[in-house]
Amino acid sequence: MKKYIYFIISVSLFILLLFVNSELPPFGSGENTSYLNNYVVKKYVDDVLDDTGVLSSIAAILYDYRGFDTLGEATVLYTSVLAVSVMLKNEKKYYFRHTESTYLKTVSKLIFPFIFVYGIYITLYGHISPGGAFSGGVVIAAGFILIMLSYGKKYCEYFLDYYRASMIESLSMLWYITVGLFSVLAGYQFLSNKIAGIPTGVAGSVFSGGSIFLLNAAVAIKVFGTIYILFSFIALEEVER
């Protein structure tokens, strides 16, 4: 009985949203968001090459125009890792149950280097092609999670335990702030890139964009550490000893 009431509530919400849908501007017309009549977006698209020296304007928005916003995102990830590790640190009765399958172990050992290198490629080419630090960090973390699923948590903690991973994560945060402070030393605003005199290099090459390249690597390591720690804390199963 209760479920019918909830269903009616959801359907009436959908009917309300249908009327909202008819009032929105048509899809693809760009009446409210086009850079033809939105000067913020127009600047982001037109002046990217002159302002930052990178090709991808999304990377320029994330690490140059709105670099302080990305620092806030990194803080959100940091806070979530902090909350999860405070709540689950002393859970002694959970252990990780991994399969003892030979096929899974062999294939994951074979495939892990390719996943790792692909994640680094996505990260390093994030400012001249689609991709970027967030997706690259998640891909690297996925490789480590595959190893953890097939070989068990003890094997993975042998070379990257919680303390090392949290150290990596905190140091990448510090790296981000340090790169931002370089422009403060030069006498400009926090996280300003080309105007502070940081060399931007040739547009289109890998080592270009000035501080964008460094911030990209910092965020990738940050995301990798976050996903790794979160998975190693949450994805536990109760196993009888």
Partner: protein, 125 residues
């Protein structure tokens, strides 16, 4: 009639609204806490789809500039994509925290079904 034209023109927004209502119904109706988290993630996905679709411009290209040849004249809006990245980060963070809370609830009550927790009575402290 205007509603029908809205369905024909804005089908991307319509898919986002359908996903939103599915997630809303799952959050309300399912007694399982894990399924409530799944419903919350479906609602997140619908909002991401809505924001990205609102930045699309017809015949627009990916906002990646080209140095040699003169590129296309119309690019899609890069700002919405950058905003969705913020949303994804927050979605990951709150999903992790919700799953942590569910783990602690399972330790405390021995169940993740909200009806069983109501039946067993609230054990404050």
């Amino acid at each position: 009639m205007k509603v029908l034209y809205g369905i024909l023109n804005n089908y991307y927004y319509l898919a986002a609204f359908v996903l939103f209502c599915i997630g809303f119904y799952i959050i309300l109706a399912s007694p399982n806490l894990i399924k409530k988290v799944i419903g919350m993630n479906i609602m997140d996905t619908s909002v991401f789809l809505f924001i990205v679709a609102s930045g699309y411009i017809k015949d627009g290209k990916v906002p990646i500039m080209s140095t040699s040849t003169p590129g296309p004249t119309v690019y899609v809006n890069p700002l919405t994509t950058a905003f969705v990245l913020t949303g994804i980060v927050i979605a990951v963070s709150k999903t992790a925290y919700a799953l942590t809370l569910i783990t602690k609830i399972h330790d405390f009550y021995g169940s993740i079904d909200i009806d069983n927790i109501y039946k067993s009575g609230w054990k404050w402290l």
